[in-house]
Structures are given as C-alpha cells and as structure tokens.
Symmetry: C2
Subunit: 427 residues, 2 copies
C-alpha cells in the first residue's frame, strides 16, 4: 500500500469513539443496558410533518440533483428565518444549504484558510474544529476560557499573529454548555474587525438557550456595507428539530462573493444536499412549537443535573444552553479518562472524557503537526490541562435515566473520595 | 471582507453552470421549452421500493446519527455486492458509505495526496477531479487520451514524476462514454504498482456498459496481500438506480488501514450520511432489474444518437458506456462554446461545451495555480486543445426529445458548413 498523506495520518479521531466501543462491548457481554450520557444525539423524534414532507417530496419526483447551494424554496425560507430569529441581513443568495453543519464548517474553513494560515479556536472545543483545520492544512491556535468556560477576549487578542485569518466562536458551546454574553461576543467581533479576521460563528445550539436570548454575532454587522462584513453564521436542523440523522444545515454568508465561493466549493465537496431532505427541512421551518417543547425538556434536565452534581462538588458553573455539562472529577484523584472507564465498568454509565475536546497538536516549523500515526490510525496529541479532570455529560436520555446515571456517577465519586481521604489507593 | 484563501479563489466552476443559466433564461423569456442535452441526470424515477424503504425508515425512528462510515446492514450488503459484481475481495470493514461519490472522491484524495503532490488525471475529465485536487492543495497532471478517448498507458508513464502519488481511472468515462478495455486497465494498474501510486477508480457508471462487461481495476489485486493493495474503488447509487437526488455513494478501500483513515476523515468532512437514505439504498440493492431496464434505454438512445450524428460526420467513435457522447463540431468552423450558444439561441437545444471538461490550470513554482480570480469568482484557465470543438450530449431525455434535439443540432451544423463552404461569414 502506498503511504497515506501526512495530513490524513495526523488528523485525530473524534474522542467519543472509544466510549462508544467500550459501551457496546459491555452491552454485548450481557448484564443489561448502559446509560449513555456520552452522546449528543437528541432522544426526541423529528416532527411528524417533517417525515411526511420528506416522503411526499420523493413521491412527487423530487429525486433529482438539486442546485449545489440548495433549492430556492428552502433558501428563501432560511433567509426569512435568519432575519427574524438571528437579526442578520442576508439576501436569499447568501443562504447556502449543506448536508449538515459539519460540512458547512469545512466549506467555510476552506474559504477562510490557506495552507499555513492560523485560526483561533476556544481551548475546549468540539473536536471537528481541529480535524477540519488540519484538512485545510492550517494551524489551530487556542484562545483561553475563564470562569464558566467563557472566552477571554484579552487572551484571544494575545493569540493573534500575522498569520491569523479567522476566529471561531461557538455559543452555546459544545462541550461546555456555556452561552457567551453579548458583551463578550462584541469584544471578539471588535478584535476580528481590528485585525481583519473572518468570524466563523457555529450556532448549532442556537435554539437551546435557557436563561437568556441567543445572540448571533452576524447581527453586529447587519448595518455595515458588504465590503466590511466578515461573519459566516452556521446553523443546523440537527438539534433544533431532532433531525441529526437527516444531515441538514446551512450557512448565512457575509457577502455575495463569499456565497459565490461557497457555491463553487460545495460542488467538489459534496455536489449538493439530498433533495427530499431539503423539502423536509422546509416543512420544519413552518412550526417553532417543537423547538420550545424540547428546550423545556433540556432545561428540566439541566436543572436536574445541577441538583445532583452541585451538592456533590462536581460542578463549578451553570451551563446556560446546549444539552451538556462539564463535570470536574478532580476531587476523586483520577483523570477524566480513568474515571470514565471506571464509571462504565462498575456503574454501567458512559460519559465522554473532556480530554478529547482539548487536544492541542504541536506544530513543526514546516507548519505540519508533530506526531506520527500510531497503529490505531492517529497520533497521540497532548491535551489542555484544564480538560484533564473534566467529563462531558449529555442530556439526551430520559429524565429518569439521567437521574439514575448521575446518581451512580455521584456515588462513585464519593466512594473514590472517601477511599482517597482514608488513604486507600485509588485507580 | 477579509481576503478569501487563494485556494478557494482558484478552484474553477463546474462548466455546465453557464449553460444551465442560459437555458433557464431562455425558458423564462418564453417561446417554449429548451431540450436539455447538457445535464447528466437520469430522467427515470428511483424504484418505488427505495422510496418506500426510505419513508419506512423514518417512521421507524431511524432518524438519529448513523456511524460515520455507514450503517452495518448497508456495509455488509455492499461488501457482498462488490464481491459478486466487481470481483473485489473487501471485508465489510473496508466498505465506507458516503453522501454521494463526489464526497467519497474528495475523502480518498485527502488520504492519497499531501499538499504539493501530483495526481494523474485523464486529459478530458469530469471537472470535479480538478476542483478536488485543488482543495487537497495538490497538482493535477494529465495523461493523454488516444483514439476513442482511450488512455495511452505510455503517455501516462511519461507523466509520472517523483511527486506523483496517485492515478485516477474513470471507466466508463464522463464525459466521453469510453469504456476502457481490460488490457489498458491492466497496463495502468501495472504502472501504479511499479511506481507505488494509489489508484482511484471512479466507477460511477459501472452499470451502464453496452457492448462489454465492466471491469473493476480493484479485481486485479484481489489475491494480493493487503500490504500490496492500492485501489480505492468508488461507486454511486446515482446512475444505477436514478437516485441522483439521494446523495448516496460508497468506497471499497484497499486495506483496513485505508478504511480506518476514511472513517477518521469522514467525521470532519460530513459527519455521516443521512440515515433514512441509507435504508433506501439497502433496499435498492435487493433488485437488479431496474438497472437492466435503464441500461437498455440508454443503449437505445446511444444507437439513436449514433444514427443521427455519424452520417453527419459529427462523431468519430462509438461510446460503449455511460450516457454521454462527445460530438465534434470542428467542421462548422466554430469552437464548441460558440456552437453551443448558437444551438441554444437558434434551436433551443442545450449541450455542454467540452472546454469545461478539459481545463488545464498552470502552476507556479510554489505549487499553486497561476491565475487570479475574475469578478465571476474563478480564474479563466486554458483548455486542452482536443476539447476545443467538442460538445457533450447526455442521453437523459426521452427518445423523442433526443431525436428532436439531435436533428436540430445536425441541421445547424449542416447550415453552418454550407454557409462556410459558400464563403459566408459564420459566427
């Protein structure tokens, strides 16, 4: 076999794979189900009307190639949605449909970043960001998060170099659930404007915000002329409508030229987005009620999680959005990876160690990551220390399962702490 | 707006866009429909059972994230299919599902090519190949096609440099319809083996072969140990089952390591392939009868096209597969682009000038294409001279429309020739 490209060797794996495999193995070995708090896939069903519209589109012969940027009907409805809900000023031509916001993010990075360029990412982040940065042959540089995992604009400013071309903002955040306040978003946007950076705003969880209104950074430039705009706003149907398996997302591009480049790059990236799925998405936009119902459920589960984890000393912040919380198991004396494996083995509860959300590849002077592929298919990268004792818990199971899973987690943490304070060896 | 990456500026557009726009404009202006021979999108419907299976999957709750490489049931069925129909020896783990073979091709290129590497492409080719090569920051180098647009292995050998990492083979070919004989495929494979190149075999039209059996280059290495395999075989549901709008394709990887890298790279490229669509694809594999029916129709149309174009001196070969023919309008004294515009304006028939299937970007010493973006969003690249007077005709309309469209085309060509031999100015 010829040697695979260095780039393809050096991309890390998504971190929750290992937990998936372990959880599956345990279930196959018997002794009942595992409580799956490691997966961010809503336990709800998509609205019935969406399924019907998708089926109807197929029956009506909507089975041929759509335009690479999406069908006009959906783009028009999305332009209306981003105006009404996000406060953006985007013409229909600036809306680009994608088979999921994952692909949308990659398309945007290919437009923003040239090989050797740098992008600012939060230091605890959704792992796709670094994978995609490496596909674009660019370099991730991390900006610091303070209390409650809030970005520190001063730290972001210090991370800018002459090679920086973009800053990624993710609010609400996966994996922390942090919702960034408007003042911080404005400070990050001002930095981007001052240093002429693209802003890539991943708003996948825009509809799951509990205690405040979601703010879209693109709204800050709605009154600026096109020539001064810089925000790519990215959205998805996955979380708002429990449509993860449909693979449907979209981009509001800052300018017509940016959307022309997106149209061009969608052709070789994916061709287009499945035609019947687009008609299903159009139907989803007609009714906001399912969004509110699911948001209420996630808020209830967030409150439930806080009521169990906070008294146990396992969290030091309140997530205000998304459906995640990062718990800190430092008091057990274990790393998150050790704790997660023990929790799975002893208590049949799966969580995601945050180490995988904080890989920090080191780079050689040639601009490529340092690190050779292991037999598993990727290098072992260092992890940001802040993530070392954190685990991500997702609220994508029933309230009962969440309560049971977290009760077991708290119980294990307490046993480990007690054993530790009694001088027993742990691990 | 910040400056878009040089890479994103330099990717060319897909060439049939301009004809789409012109044809749409003409229809909007009135005077009846345009006969659309420029689009390679089957005019058939997908099998009913596929639509039903897709709808059923949604109703049964198959609406959540699938694995990035596809659902196990579909991968198992595909492993069986590539064994039976393509003569490959691929374990289930080597089959990777993709949202279309477009994305599959890009994923494979990212694994085969590192920035600065070279890939051998046929000199008349499906335009995505060059777009994708530029996304991978690699360099396309073209191998010559001889009579009947058949690859010349000697010419391919001469094009290999120390930077060459892969050769792309496309049989049956888009845009020529050429089916490469086994002896030529073996010669290209032997070259790849000798120079340790990856082979990327795009077999999108595998089921549309009229006069011979389809041969998969991957079958040449079925008895070799994994360490010596090198062929990525790429397939799609789009053409075989008229499922273009479903966006469903797949890869048979040469080795387990290659499929591990594909699994890793699918995560940041697209996440996964829409879940209900995968169940529809599984259903499609249960019945080969629709394939044979559509193949018969394409053969009939190919024969019809030959019966009109050959006596008119507009073709010098017989396409043996796919649903395309390249006609040569040199005798009219016009370039293909001029002829296509005149045919559309005067006769309301749209064809695709082959110039867009033969763009040959020139490269600077830094490995990047020469050429600045025009206001349209891409550079103007030179075209291979062989394509200058060719137009691609697709057989994706009814027999009646095809006959009418080609009769008009032949009529225009004859008028132009007559005018020319009579000394009249043309153009």
């Amino acid at each position: 076999m010829p040697t695979p490209s260095r780039r393809s060797q050096q991309i890390p794996f998504s971190p929750i794979r290992a937990m998936f495999r372990l959880a599956d193995e345990m279930e196959r070995a018997g002794n009942g189900p595992v409580i799956r708090l490691h997966v961010g896939d809503p336990d709800f069903a998509p609205p019935d009307a969406v399924l019907e519209a998708t089926s109807r589109a197929m029956r009506e012969g909507k089975t041929h190639y759509p335009p690479s940027v999406g069908i006009q009907e959906l783009r028009a409805a999305l332009a209306e949605k981003v105006k009404r809900r996000n406060g953006l000023a985007a013409a229909v031509e600036q809306l680009v449909v994608a088979p999921g916001s994952t692909e949308a993010l990659l398309a945007v990075m290919e437009i923003a970043l040239h090989p050797g360029d740098e992008i600012l990412l939060p230091e605890i982040y959704w792992p796709n960001y670094v994978q995609q940065t490496l596909i674009a042959s660019a370099k991730p540089v991390f900006y610091p998060l303070g209390a409650g995992y809030q970005p520190e604009p001063g730290g972001a400013r210090s991370a800018v170099t002459p090679k920086t071309r973009a800053i990624l903002i993710n609010s609400p955040s996966n994996p922390t659930g942090a919702v960034i306040p408007e003042a911080t978003l404005r400070a990050l946007y001002a930095l981007a404007r001052e240093r002429d950076l693209w802003v890539i705003s991943d708003e996948a969880y825009e509809d799951i915000v509990f205690d405040a209104a979601h703010v879209s950074p693109g709204s800050f430039e709605r009154d600026l002329p096109e020539s001064e705009r810089r925000v790519f706003s990215l959205y998805t149907f996955s979380k708002s409508y429990a449509m993860t398996g449909f693979r449907l997302g979209y981009i509001a591009a800052p300018t017509l030229l940016a959307s022309t480049l997106l149209r061009k790059i969608q052709e070789p990236l994916v061709g287009s987005t499945a035609m019947p799925i687009q008609w299903g998405g159009l139907e989803a936009l007609r009714d906001d009620a399912p969004i509110a119902r699911m948001r209420d459920a996630y808020r209830r589960r967030r409150d439930l999680a806080m009521s169990l984890l906070k008294p146990a000393g396992l969290v030091d912040y309140t997530p205000e959005g998304a459906f995640y919380i990062l718990a800190d198991v430092a008091s057990t004396g274990m790393t998150a990876d050790e704790f997660a494996v023990r929790l799975l083995r002893e208590c049949r509860v799966a969580v995601a160690p945050a180490s995988g959300f904080a890989l920090a590849p080191e780079f050689a002077p040639d601009g490529l990551p340092v690190g050779a592929m292991t037999p598993g298919g990727a290098p072992e990268y260092p992890t940001h220390p802040k993530a070392r004792t954190r685990v991500r818990i997702a609220f994508c199971v029933s309230d009962e399962e969440l309560r049971e899973g977290l009760t077991r987690l708290v119980g294990l943490a307490e046993r480990l702490r007690t054993g530790r304070s009694a001088g027993t060896t742990v691990g």
